[in-house]
C-alpha cells in the first residue's frame, strides 16, 4: 500500500508541477489529466468508489474536454497566445518564496503534535457504517446520504448548474462578434475569414 501511495504522490506532484510549468496550454491539460487519474486512484484506496468515478467522468470527461475545446478554438489561427510584454517578469521569485512560506506554515500546522486527541463528541458520524469499510463510500451509501441528509445542498447544485447554463448563454449567445468600433470588427472578421480559408486548404 505504501508503494502505491508514494507512487501516486510522485505522480500527483509531478503532474501538478507540469501543469503550471508547461509551455503550451495543451500540455497543461494533458498533465492535469494525469493528475486527475492519479487522484481517482487515490480515492479508490480511500474507499471512495463513487467519487473516483465522478472524478473521472466529470473532471476528465467534461471539464478537461471543455478546456481542450476552448484551447483549440482560441488557437485556430486568429492570434497567438500570450502576446504583449510580461509586465511582471520577476514575479516568480517572490511568488515561490511566499508560497513556500505559506506551505511551510500549513505543513507545520499539520505535523504539529496535538496536545489532546481529536474529539469525537458532536461529530456527525455515519453510525451504520462504522467498522464496515466495504459499505462506506459505495454508490448506495453515497446516494442515501445525498437524498436524505444532504438534500438541500443537492437541490442547490441544480440551481448552480442552471446559473452556469444561463450565464454562458447570456455571456456568449445571440449576438454578433465584438463590435467595439466598426474598423475593429472588420479586422476581426477579416482575420476570421483568413483563418477559415487556411483551414479549408
Amino acid at each position: 500500500m505504501s508503494v502505491l501511495f508514494w507512487g501516486l504522490a510522485v505522480v500527483l506532484v509531478a503532474s501538478a508541477m507540469w501543469t503550471i510549468m508547461a509551455s503550451k496550454p495543451v500540455y497543461s491539460v494533458v498533465a492535469l489529466l494525469a493528475n486527475f487519474f492519479a487522484l481517482a486512484v487515490l480515492y479508490l484506496t480511500l474507499s471512495a468508489e463513487f467519487l473516483a468515478m465522478i472524478q473521472l467522468i466529470v473532471y476528465s470527461g467534461a471539464i478537461l474536454v471543455l478546456f481542450l475545446f476552448v484551447i483549440a478554438m482560441l488557437s485556430s489561427g486568429v492570434a497567438s497566445f500570450s502576446v504583449g510584454p510580461n509586465r511582471l517578469p520577476r514575479i516568480a521569485v517572490p511568488a515561490v518564496l511566499l508560497v513556500l512560506i505559506a506551505l511551510g506554515l500549513v505543513v507545520v500546522g499539520i505535523f504539529m503534535p496535538h496536545p489532546a486527541p481529536l474529539p469525537l463528541a458532536g461529530a456527525a458520524v455515519n453510525a451504520g457504517a462504522v467498522g464496515d469499510a466495504n459499505v462506506f463510500g459505495s454508490v448506495a451509501d453515497f446516494g442515501r446520504a445525498l437524498f436524505t441528509t444532504y438534500l438541500l445542498p443537492f437541490e442547490v447544485t441544480a440551481l448552480i448548474l442552471m446559473v452556469a447554463v444561463i450565464g454562458v448563454i447570456v455571456l456568449a449567445g445571440e449576438h454578433a462578434p465584438y463590435v467595439g468600433t466598426p474598423r475593429r470588427a472588420e479586422e476581426v472578421r477579416k482575420s476570421l475569414r483568413e483563418a477559415i480559408a487556411r483551414e479549408g486548404d
Partner: protein
C-alpha cells in the same frame, strides 16, 4: 440521522425557492413577450418575485428553528440579512431595468435573482456545505453579470473577478477541509467544541476560512480586486455586489466567527480580522482621494465602510451586533441611492460614473444633486443622516467593549473621507457649464429608487423611536 424532510424544512427555504422560480419565470416570459414590452415584463416579474420573497422572509420574523438537519437556520439574523439581500436585489433589478441593455435584460435579471438566492442561502447557512454552495451560487452568477456589458472594461473586470475570487474560494475551501478534519463534521455547531482550542489544524482551518471571507468583504489586503471590478462591471451589477454580496458574507461571518467558535478563544481567533478591518478603514478612505470614477470611489468607500461594520462586531456584544446591522442597513440604502443617482445620469456609456460629470449638477438637476448630497453626507457620517447615527452606535459599542483603537481609527478614517466626499458635493454646487448626457428611457424608476433611498437614509435616523 437520515431524518425525513418535512414541510417545515421546505418552508425555511421557501423564499429562496420563490426567488429561484422567479428567475425562471422572467426567462420564460421573455421568450413569449413581444420586443417592446420585454423590459416592462421582466422588471415587473422580478419585482413581484422579490417582494413575495420578502413577505415570506418577514413572516418568519421571530421564529427560530433549523431545517434540513441543521443545514439551514431560520432566526433573527437570517431574516434581517435576507431582508437586506432582497433590498439590494430590488434596487439593482430596478437599476438594471432602468439602464440595462434591452437585449439581455431577462438573462441578466434571472442571474441577479439567482445570485440573490446564493446570498440568502449564506444568510441562513447552518453548515459548511451551505456556505460553500451559497457563496458559489452568488459568485458564479456575478462572474457572468460582470462580463455582460459589451465593453472591454467589463470583460476585464469579469476576468479579474473570476480568477481572484476563485483563488480566494480555493483558500476558503481548503480551510473548510481542515475544519471538517478537525471536527469530523460539517455542522457549524461542531466548531464550538472547547477541546478544539488545542488543535493546530483547527486554527489553520479558521485562518484559511477567514481569508475567503475577507476577500469577499474586500478587506485590505484582500481588497485589490474590488476597485477594478466595481469600475468595470455594469453599474447595476456593482450596486448589487456592494450590498447583497456583503450581506451574505457578513451573515456567515457573524454565524461562524461570533456564534460558533469556542467562546474562550474567540477574541484571539478574531484579532486578525479586527486588524485588517482597521487597516481597511484607512486604506479605503485614502484610496478614495484621487479617484475620478464614482464606482471606483464607492469601491474604496465600501472597503472602509465594511471596516466600520466589523468594528461594531469586534466586541461580540449584542449591542454591537445591532449597531452593525443598523449601519449595514443604512449603508445599503446610501450605496443603492448613490448608484441610483448615477443611473439617473447615465446614458449609453454610464456617464453617471464619471465624477467630472457631477460638476454643476446642483444647477442642472437640483433634485438629483440633493439626493446625492444626502448619500454622500451619510457615507461621510454627518448628521442628519443614518450614517451619523450608525457611527455613533458603532463608536459606542466598540469603546464599551474595549476596542478603543478601532474607534480611533474609525474617526481618523472619517476625517480623511470628509475631503473625498466633500469634493463631489462641492463640485456639484460649483457653477460650471457641463453638458448633460442624454437620459435612458426608464430613468424615472431610477429616480424613484433614489428618492426612496434618500428618504430612508434620513428616516432611519428616527428608527430607534419605535422602540
Amino acid at each position: 440521522m437520515s431524518a425525513n424532510v418535512t414541510n417545515a424544512d421546505w418552508a425555511a427555504v421557501l423564499s429562496i425557492a420563490v426567488l429561484g422560480a422567479t428567475g425562471l419565470a422572467v426567462l420564460v416570459a421573455d421568450l413569449l413577450a413581444r420586443t417592446f414590452v420585454r423590459r416592462y415584463i421582466a422588471i415587473a416579474i422580478a419585482m413581484i418575485g422579490i417582494i413575495a420573497a420578502g413577505a415570506i422572509v418577514f413572516a418568519q420574523y421571530g421564529t427560530h428553528y433549523s431545517a434540513f438537519g441543521g443545514a439551514f437556520v431560520v432566526d433573527y439574523a437570517s431574516v434581517l440579512f435576507q431582508g437586506i439581500v432582497l433590498l439590494g436585489a430590488l434596487g439593482s433589478v430596478i437599476l438594471y431595468g432602468a439602464i440595462g441593455e434591452e437585449r439581455r435584460i431577462a438573462g441578466a435579471l434571472a442571474l441577479m435573482l439567482w445570485s440573490a438566492c446564493g446570498a440568502m442561502l449564506m444568510s441562513g447557512a447552518g453548515n459548511l456545505m451551505t456556505i460553500f454552495l451559497g457563496l458559489e451560487l452568488l459568485s458564479l452568477a456575478l462572474y457572468a453579470l460582470c462580463g455582460i456589458a459589451e465593453r472591454a472594461g467589463a470583460h476585464e473586470a469579469a476576468l479579474k473577478y473570476l480568477i481572484l475570487s476563485s483563488t480566494a474560494t480555493g483558500f476558503l475551501l481548503y480551510g473548510m477541509g481542515l475544519l471538517f478534519g478537525a471536527t469530523g463534521s460539517v455542522a457549524l455547531s461542531a466548531l464550538s467544541n472547547p477541546a478544539l482550542a488545542t488543535n493546530p489544524i483547527f486554527w489553520t482551518g479558521v485562518g484559511l476560512f477567514f481569508v475567503g471571507i475577507a476577500f469577499k468583504l474586500s478587506l485590505v489586503p484582500f481588497h485589490t480586486w474590488a476597485p477594478d471590478v466595481y469600475e468595470g462591471a455594469p453599474l447595476p451589477v456593482t450596486a448589487f455586489m456592494s450590498v447583497a454580496t456583503k450581506a451574505g458574507v457578513l451573515a456567515v461571518l457573524v454565524r461562524v466567527f461570533l456564534w460558533s467558535l469556542p467562546s474562550q478563544h474567540v477574541s484571539d481567533m478574531l484579532l486578525p480580522m479586527w486588524i485588517v478591518a482597521g487597516i481597511s478603514m484607512i486604506v479605503g478612505n485614502v484610496g478614495m482621494l484621487a479617484q475620478r470614477d464614482l464606482k471606483r470611489m464607492l469601491a474604496y468607500s465600501g472597503i472602509a465602510q465594511i471596516g466600520y461594520i466589523l468594528a461594531a462586531l469586534a466586541g461580540g456584544s449584542a449591542e454591537g451586533f445591532n449597531a452593525a446591522l443598523y449601519y449595514f442597513a443604512a449603508y445599503s440604502f446610501m450605496n443603492l441611492g448613490a448608484f441610483a443617482v448615477a443611473a439617473m445620469l447615465s446614458g449609453d456609456r454610464e456617464e453617471g460614473s464619471v465624477i467630472a460629470n457631477y460638476s454643476g449638477l446642483g444647477y442642472r438637476r437640483p433634485w438629483a444633486a440633493l439626493a446625492m448630497t444626502v448619500f454622500l453626507l451619510a457615507m461621510a457620517g454627518l448628521p442628519p443622516t443614518a450614517g451619523f447615527l450608525g457611527k455613533v452606535f458603532i463608536l459606542r459599542s466598540s469603546v464599551e467593549t474595549g476596542y478603543v483603537w478601532l474607534a480611533a481609527l474609525l474617526i481618523v478614517g472619517t476625517a480623511i473621507s470628509l475631503y473625498a466626499y466633500g469634493r463631489i458635493v462641492r463640485a456639484m454646487y460649483d457653477r460650471s457649464t457641463h453638458p448633460v448626457p442624454a437620459a435612458k428611457p426608464f430613468v424615472p424608476l431610477a429616480a424613484l429608487s433614489a428618492a426612496i433611498c434618500a428618504i430612508a437614509v434620513i428616516a432611519l435616523t428616527f428608527y430607534p423611536f419605535s422602540r
